[in-house]
Symmetry: C2
Subunit: 332 residues, 2 copies
């Protein structure tokens, strides 16, 4: 790596993308050189203003990466638009054709080889053709339920099962997150949304897939269910007033099975007024490991890991890579 | 990687080496093909008998790697002889000349670039010339106080300081370990041994060095001190009877400083009847992270990580590598 600052284009300026962009502005060694979003309320305005800085950055948000590339050279795109391949695949191809490496927070990209093998192969081929690297990362998926538990198995002689639980007190999180987990919904509305596939954390199959694949396990069955957590008494946050009997959040459990039976569970609990806030990784085997983490919750961690991964992506071989393929990502 | 078993030579048949060899025998995908030790009580005897198996392995322990290579081809050496460069450097060169990759549990090899830069450069050059890879690993150094905390900084936007504490109830460990931490010594004897540099865990400077180097910090000062922990009342184990007032173990603290002040502390506590048994990693920054681990203690973890690292070493580029250079090590 040279000491010259890495030139970064922020692609997607929602809450996470704006937070990533702000963090790039405050970090040494990286320089924010462009911003892309299709939202007409953002395009044409100064990037600094759009991402919530007190100062202007001197270039406008545009709706097309090509307009950025006409104005400036760049090294890497931080991609934070959507969770799903049908939204982001064409965006990634466009970025690769522009000759840029990609770090994306798109959940389905974190380990796409099981759920979307064909699309993954297309992205991989486009990246190799461009001589560039694509990584999907984030705190979850990308770390807490996959690459970190995998790293912990390094000190195990035998692993019989892995159980990861992430418990978030959503009262501490931003409004859109509180909404996403169903805060204030009636149970009937929650159930309706759930049946339409609109409730729950995205990324559990990807985390499970990374672990099974890396450990050489065959996944013969995958189950996932979401249930509402109901408020016993009224809960008030900056964004919601939840009555007793209404939904204060959700609990989601995914189970992965080998031919020998259940091997892994991933439990995601996010609710207002949830008393605990932290993660537990249990690895049953030789030895039995119990790892408890506090402080991992919130957007801070996803913003951090995306930016911290930039060096590893620039140094990596071309292609679509995942967190289990790279040397450990660290702050720098 | 092909599906053919990786052929392993065990070099060094002390307690850890024998445990590594036994684990290789029970793991799929690896085959134990040779054993080297200079101890005349071991050479000439069947390897299975020497490492404590119930069955014979059909080849003898020899005192020279060349004798193994006359009998069989091999892929990798598990090297478990000594902690210090002056003991192991010539051994590593000999193994590299024989054309084998190396995974070593030698503490000073885990991150030698700060404390032994010249010797590290010689090993690196010998490895590149041989087209082979050398890795020093173990649970500590190699994981708990260095590569794992580094991996946890992935989700940090800012790291102000890192404090790792490893607390071991030595009553649960084998006799030589209990002896090594001073169990049953008088305080005067402990102090004498300490002044002669013979008390304390080996590897703290290496762990500290890996963290500072990886995070781009300049270490302007390094301090390390050992103190005895005294028994308040008699302590009995399978190996020791410690009277009140005698030593039941030790506490060692290492401190690393940047130009801005103290940045990292590593605290190693190992004592008989120590009530807690586990590790704590505190990262102060944005966010503050608190990670508590239980189950990491004992030789199980070092044996595991050494064997689990074999695939990564076989796949790595030639040279001397450390745990922060490889993709995350996992069980396989």
């Amino acid at each position: 790596m040279s000491n010259k600052a890495i030139r970064v284009v922020q692609y997607g300026l929602g809450p996470i993308g704006s937070a990533v962009a702000r963090h790039i502005v405050e970090r040494d060694g990286v320089e924010l050189v462009g911003g892309v979003d299709i939202d007409r309320a953002k395009t044409g305005r100064d990037m600094g203003e759009v991402i919530g800085l007190d100062s202007l950055l001197g270039f406008p948000v545009v709706n097309d990466l090509a307009l950025v590339m006409e104005r400036t050279a760049a090294d890497v795109v931080m991609h934070t638009t959507g969770s799903f391949f049908d939204i982001f695949e064409s965006q990634l191809v466009e970025i690769l054709k522009a000759g840029l490496d990609i770090v994306s927070t798109s959940e389905e990209l974190s380990f796409p080889w099981l759920a979307h093998p064909d699309a993954a192969a297309r992205i991989d081929a486009a990246a190799r053709q461009a001589g560039k690297t694509v990584l999907g990362t984030g705190v979850n998926p990308g770390f807490l339920m996959d690459s970190l538990p995998l790293n912990l198995t390094a000190i195990c002689q035998r692993v019989d099962r892995i159980d990861v639980t992430r418990r978030m007190n959503a009262s501490l999180r931003r409004g859109p997150f509180q909404a996403k987990i169903g805060s204030g919904m009636t149970v009937a509305d929650f159930m309706l949304n759930m049946e339409n596939g609109r409730m729950g954390h995205i990324g559990l199959p990807e985390s499970m897939g990374m672990v099974f694949s890396t450990l050489g396990k065959t996944m013969v069955k995958y189950e996932s269910g979401v249930e509402p957590l109901i408020a016993d008494s009224p809960v008030t946050t900056d964004y919601f007033e939840v009555q007793a009997g209404q939904v204060r959040g959700l609990k989601q459990v995914a189970r992965g099975y080998t031919p020998d039976g259940e091997f892994m569970t991933l439990t995601f609990i996010a609710a207002l007024d949830e008393k605990e806030d932290g993660d537990t990784i249990l690895i049953t085997g030789k030895p039995d490991l119990e790892v408890r983490l506090r402080g991992t919750n919130g957007d801070t961690a996803t913003v951090a890991i995306a930016v911290n991964a930039v060096h590893r992506v620039l140094d990596a071989m071309p292609g679509l890579v995942t967190m289990r393929d790279l040397p450990i990502v660290t702050i720098w």
